[in-house]
């Protein structure tokens, strides 16, 4: 129908060259790219830690790393992956890039604060790098006291400060999104015409705003306890370690929803685009994001069932934890209903979406097993927990991130990647993931504790399977790095809307101009209104 697409002459990437134009940019799209590069660095660093862990665990004996080094490896794996990869991942890259476009604005509400949040993130990262280089930290990413505050002789302060500082980056991103979504929508863009990706990020931002300050103050308290000898959590000085856990998990449980909600938002976009149908039950899905955000704040003590909390409160938290599964299930049902009788296809982003649906559902169900007070007593601190949260965070969040990255890549850089390689990578990720983490459910059920680098020999087969899976998974992650970078110069030019998708971001060029839209859009249609005539010509297969 159209001639071969060409790149626009002027867009956000070539609008100004040089380091200063990037490091002092106010353009949300450039900031998103800056974040993309930084979180990728942290991802591979955290992945390196995972490699060490899985290498060690391939044999039952402690033969690769000393106990202390192993403790440092899993601590840094957790700290880096949670605070420096997962929490910023989708919001700071895809969210930063697309929320202004999806609401029809030129930029976020506070562009300079957006840039500031990236610098703050980097400073937090530097503290963590320092901790890593200077010898590591071995408290576990959970920093439980009194070990972290009084006993450990590793670099707790540097890491705690790194987390504290990175938290402000998260808060500022959330603040920016909330104000943008409330105040910067284009004419005609009512709340219920917003893409579900925006709803998901709004909910995520609420959690970031309300929850992150509590871990910030908790890290600060650990810092003063270590640095000045204040005794707030140390039982030897009258303090209560369980208080630390209450404060820590008050944030860290909602934090896991910071990690998954954006991916749930991506999922809605992918499912709509690749089934060419608007999402079934739009308002249910929108409200379920808000429900998840609110509910996430009243379930935290399910991480503490065996820490010494009262049985009554444990029962209450167990019951509440069941309820938080409901809105997640609502989403999965609505996506399934969307796929029903739709024209579905199997491009790479959609492969990630299918994988997500299966793995997220499975991981979520295992969460219910852990939420059940009786079974949790047996499974707490075993590999069952490890498998559960990796199903959600890797099988869910990371696959959502990769799916979104592949979906919006042509929009961000103007070029397509190699579809064959990308599908191979998606399959490798799926297969590698399951091989890595499914055996861990069995291991946990059989009683293998987490954070141990030696185990009884009868667990070896499952551990070897897991480690083998990890190598496949690792390969699946390295491939996109290669073909995506390659596509920057050599990929086919994508044009404004290679997928034939609906949404304001597809109405402008690829890559978009700095101001996003040449003229302010005026919105008259509901979300996901697909135009039938765009379908066949733009299919890639």
């Amino acid at each position: 129908m159209e001639a071969t697409p060409t790149l626009p002459a002027l867009h956000y990437l070539n609008n100004g060259y040089g380091l200063k134009s990037w490091l002092l940019t106010k353009d949300h799209k450039r900031i998103a790219i800056l974040y993309l590069i930084s979180i990728s660095v942290f991802f591979f660093l955290g992945g390196l830690m995972a490699l060490l862990i899985r290498l060690e665990l391939a044999t039952p004996e402690a033969d690769l790393l000393s106990s202390d080094t192993y403790n440092k490896a899993f601590t840094l794996h957790g700290v880096i992956m949670v605070f420096f990869f997962l929490i910023p991942s989708i919001p700071a890259t895809l969210g930063n890039f697309f929320i202004p476009m999806m609401v029809g604005a030129k930029d976020l509400a506070f562009p300079r604060i957006n840039l500031l949040s990236w610098y703050i993130y980097l400073v937090g990262g530097i503290f963590t790098f320092y901790a890593l280089a200077a010898g590591g930290v071995d408290t576990g990413w959970t920093f439980y006291t009194p070990y972290s505050a009084a006993v450990s002789n590793t670099h707790v302060i540097a890491t705690a400060l790194g987390v504290f500082i990175a938290g402000f980056s998260s808060i500022l991103t959330g603040l920016n999104f909330v104000v943008t979504i409330h105040r910067m929508r284009a004419p005609g863009m009512t709340w219920f015409r917003l893409p579900l990706f925006v709803w998901a990020h709004y909910a995520t931002s609420l959690i970031q705003i309300l929850g992150t300050p509590v871990i910030a103050i908790t890290m600060l308290m650990v810092f003063v306890e270590r640095a000045f000898g204040f005794g707030i959590f140390d039982p030897a000085r009258g303090g209560d370690p369980v208080l630390f856990q209450h404060l820590f998990w008050f944030y860290s449980h909602p934090a896991v929803y910071i990690m998954i909600l954006p991916a749930l938002g991506v999922m809605s976009e992918l499912i709509a685009a690749f089934s060419r149908k608007k999402v079934f039950g739009y308002s249910f899905v929108a409200f379920s994001s808000l429900a998840i955000a609110v509910f996430s704040f009243i379930v935290w003590a399910h991480h503490m069932f065996v820490a010494g909390i009262s049985v009554y409160s444990a029962m209450v938290f167990s019951f509440l934890s069941f309820s938080v599964a409901i809105p997640s299930a609502v989403k999965v049902f609505n996506w399934t209903a969307t796929l029903y009788k739709a024209s579905i296809s199997f491009e790479t982003p959609m492969l990630y979406a299918y994988g997500f649906m299966g793995l997220f559902t499975f991981g979520g169900l295992t969460g219910l097993i852990l939420a059940t007070l009786g079974t949790d007593v047996h499974l707490h601190d075993t590999y069952f927990v490890v498998a559960h949260f990796h199903y959600i965070m890797v099988g869910g969040a990371i696959m959502g991130y990769l799916g979104g990255l592949h979906y919006w890549w042509p929009k961000m850089v103007g070029r397509m990647y190699n579809e064959f390689l990308s599908r191979i990578a998606a399959i490798l990720v799926f297969v590698g993931f399951n091989l890595t983490f499914f055996p861990q459910f069995v291991l946990g059920y059989l009683g293998m504790p987490r954070r141990y680098h030696m185990y009884p020999p009868e667990f070896q087969v499952l551990n070897v399977l897991s480690s083998a899976g990890a190598s496949v998974l690792g390969l699946g992650y390295v491939l996109p790095l290669l073909y995506l970078l390659y596509s920057l110069k050599k990929g086919a030019v994508a044009g404004p809307n290679p997928w034939g998708a609906a949404g304001l971001e597809w109405r402008t060029s690829s890559p978009p101009p700095t101001e996003n839209f040449p003229i302010t859009p005026r919105v008259t249609t509901e979300a996901y209104e697909f135009e039938p005539q765009m379908a066949p010509e733009f299919k890639l297969v």
């Binding site: 104000v179 309300l210 929850g211 600060l220 707030i232 009258g238 209560d240 369980v242 404060l247």
Partner: protein, 237 residues
Amino acid sequence: MEQQKEASTLGMWTFLLTEILFFGGLFMAYMLYRIWYHDAFAAASRTLDLRWGGLNTVVLIASSLTMALGVRSAQLNRRKPLLLWLLATVVLGSVFLGVKVIEYSDKFEHHHVPGPNFVWESHEAAPAGEHQLGGGGPVTEPGRAASESAGHAPAASNPQFQQWTQIYFSLYFTMTGLHALHMIVGIVLMSVIAWMAWMGRFDDHYYTPVEMSGLYWHFVDIVWIYLFPLLYLIDRS
């Protein structure tokens, strides 16, 4: 302009929301330990000078008044009064900090700063027969029913009592220290706003920075409104 003002207002309130939760964590820790170690907390609190605390409360609330009047002047495009009210706010805030320096030095002298040099000497008779909830924190079981009246209150010279007063002071310094840090930021902020006002940057159509800084200042005042009774007025009867 209007949209920008709405955006800034929402942004500042959202930021203050994070501050509520930020201080909130400390209030949580405080609340728990005050219930557990009530007598120790009460005794430690009595070593704070109520006159300084009271003065600071009056000073800070007064500074909120001057701040509010400053915003009002900005709304009415009265540059000189705006400047004067802002400077008054800065002065009052500085007085607050000055008093805090006095209080902190006093605590240093009495070895009430937690850490290796902490020493607790009570000059009060140990409150005999008064029961503490559960007999006190995690070292003894807090699970013991509250109805089990302790009957024995640890003597003030009891090392456990010392520990518990140290926890009070840990929280005292962390909470007031964090508050003081916020005050310093506020004073710097107000000085910048005052400079901007002096340069004629504001009029009755644009005074958003004045108003936003005002919101921040009032918030810091509110934190102190809670800190004062909680830290200074535990039990002075």
